[in-house]
Structure formats: structure tokens, C-alpha cells
Amino acid sequence: MNEVDYEQAVNSFYEGLYRFAHSLAGNADDACELTQEAFARLLAKGGQLRDRSKVKAWLFTTLYRIYLGWKRRDTRHPHLEITSVENELPTVTPDIVDKLEHEAVGQSLLEMEERYRVLLALYYFENHTYAEISGLLGVPIGTVMSRLSRAKDMMRKSLAAKSIGAERKIISIKPESQRSQT
């Protein structure tokens, strides 16, 4: 793969690929590493890709396989129990509440079971079609459709629950004087 083709691939796909990686790995550091590994493989092996229109699908499939390889090794993603990081959670401030909407949406996605999370990430981040998702994950189209429907439903329920939580937080941080007026 020549430098121009590579730069074009980076410009076109790195954002979607990073967000997909983030949704898989659950954190920014591993997402960066996964993205870089996928592009490194494109540089090393991209010459084998005869059809340039398949670069996008190749990158997403490669990243997903790298992630599955990591997972099989099962050493890179130690599971953190919430109680072990509880003390590091930030205090709720108006800024955080302002940002909560977007973060809550992201969090809802990251909290989902992997088979649903992967699907939604491909659907929302890079606008993959149901057929592309079927090809990338190696699952039948019918399964993609039913799983997507279920995933959307689960995410909406999670968002609904979070929106109730956000309302409560807004009320709880209002000054006492304002609370009595409401």
C-alpha cells in the first residue's frame, strides 16, 4: 500500500475505527492500541488487498480479530469491580451534569453485553449496513437484524433509566433555596 492510499485510509476511517475499538475495549488506551495495530497491519499487509474498496471492511474485521486475540489471551483486560474504583469517582458538578447526556449514551453502550455492543457500535459509528455487519461478524443477516432490534431496545431502556438518575442528580445539587421553591 502506497503512502497516499494509507493516508487516505487513515483520514477516512480512523475515527470510526477508534470508536469501534473503544466500544470493544471499554477504555481509550486500549482503543488507541487496537486502532494503531490495525493500521500497522494495513501498512504491512495492505499490499495483499487487491480491491481498494474493501479497505474499510478489512480494517474493521482486522481490528475485531486483534481484539478477539487479546481476549483469548485473557491477560490484558483485568475486570475492575466498581467497589475497587469507587473512591476515584468524581464528585457530581454542574459541568458533569451538563455533559451527562452524551456520556450517559456512551456509557449505556459500553455497559451492554458484548454481542449487542459490537453490533450497535458498527451500526452507529461507521454507518455499516446490516449486510456489512453480517460479513464482519460472520453471523447470518437474520441474526444481525433480530440482535440489532434487541440491542436498540436494551440501549433505550438503559438510557431511560439513566435519564431518571440524571434528573435526580440535578435536583440534589440545586441550592437549598431553589429546592424549596420547586
Binding site: E15, Q36, T61, R72, L109
Partner: protein, 247 residues
Amino acid sequence: MNNQEARLILQAYRCGGQDASDPLFAEALEQARRDPELQKWFAEETALDARIQASLQTALPIPHELKSNLLALRKIIRPAPWWLQPLKLAAAAAVLLLGVATFWLRPQTPAQLASFRETMARYSMQEHGHITFESHDMTKIQQWLQDRGMETNFELPAALHRGPAQGCRVVDWNGRKATMLCFVLDDGEHMDLFVMDRVGLPGLPEGSAPQFAEANGLMTATWVKGDQVYLLTGDNKKLLQKLFQQT
């Protein structure tokens, strides 16, 4: 098509409208045009999808340095032209020889072999329940297989002795049982080795060079040794060929 079926299909419709010309959506879209209730649901669905999509883009911001790091990879990873790499030149010669050997020694039962490849590649692609027994210890894996009546006198390619096994599973092809061994090599490449009694695939010549073929998007190598037929799946042909060069 009833409204329930239409809803299931329309949930895969992308909110940007790019799927308008996809025939799969045509009937469901037509149904939505006819039924005001379904149309209302669909409008709300796409609006909500657009909102979630926009929110997710903001929720996972891209690190500033990522793009420059990715572009810098060009300076770090520069594959030399293949004709300047003696190993690759040797590999090209080996590919040529393998191609000739594959042509002359092609199987007597191509349809059966193709079916075997396709089925095993599907097992290899399977994400959930990929392996039944997880262990890096080949002795434990062999014991697990013996307990299930499977032969364990298989001979692994030398390169797989070094790659850590991840576990195994017993799979089925045309009523015959085959062993599946899962490996992840040091560079993170995932491979699955399938071993089956060669009686299941008569006509395959013993001791011939591996036959490479693509199946379900994976590259496969098939060969016969002793009483067993072996099939290895991996991401690409070069990787599999490299593995046999190491043998």
C-alpha cells in the same frame, strides 16, 4: 408482511437514508407508507437513532494525537519491495511449487473437501461457544478429548508447538466427529486446527503438500498425515504458508 416484521426490518435501516434503494427494505418501507401508525413509529425511530448516533460521536472523543501517530506509522513500518527480501523471494518460489503440486495432487472428492472446508471455517468464525474446553495445557486438552472418545495421536505443525493453545472443542461434519484445537500465536494471529479420521474424506493423497483454499472469508490449508486429515484456518494465505515453511 405484518407490522411486527416490518418493524424488525426497519430497525436495521440507517437513519441517513442510505438504504432507501436496498430491495430488502422496499416492502417494509411500502408498508410504513400505507400504515400511518407504522409510519409514525418509523419517523420516531429514525429521529431517535440520529440523536443517539450524534450523542455517541460526542461521548467517545478521538484523542488528539491519534491521527498523527497513525500517520507516523508510515515512517516506522516500511515494507521493502518483495524482490529485495530474500525470504519473500523464497516464499514466492515455494508458492509456485505449491501451486504446481496442488494442481497435480488435487483431491478426488472436491465437493466433499469444499464442504468440509466451509463447515470448519464456519466453526472457526463462530464467536460464541468458540471452544468448549479452555486450557493452555496440551496434556489437559488431550485428556479432555480422550474422555470424549476422540483420537489424540495428531501431529501438530512445528510452529503450533510454540503458539499457546487456547482450548478445544468437538465438532461435527456429516455425522463425523472432528477435533478443533484453537491457537493464538505470539503476534496475536488466531488459528484453528481441525483433525478428523481420513476415512471421512477418501481420495485425499497422503503426504502431499497442503492445499490452500479460501472458505467463508478465511484461508485454509488441508493435508493428510497418517490416518488423519488436518485442516488449518487462518486470516491469510501468507501466514499459513509461513507456518509450513517453519515446519
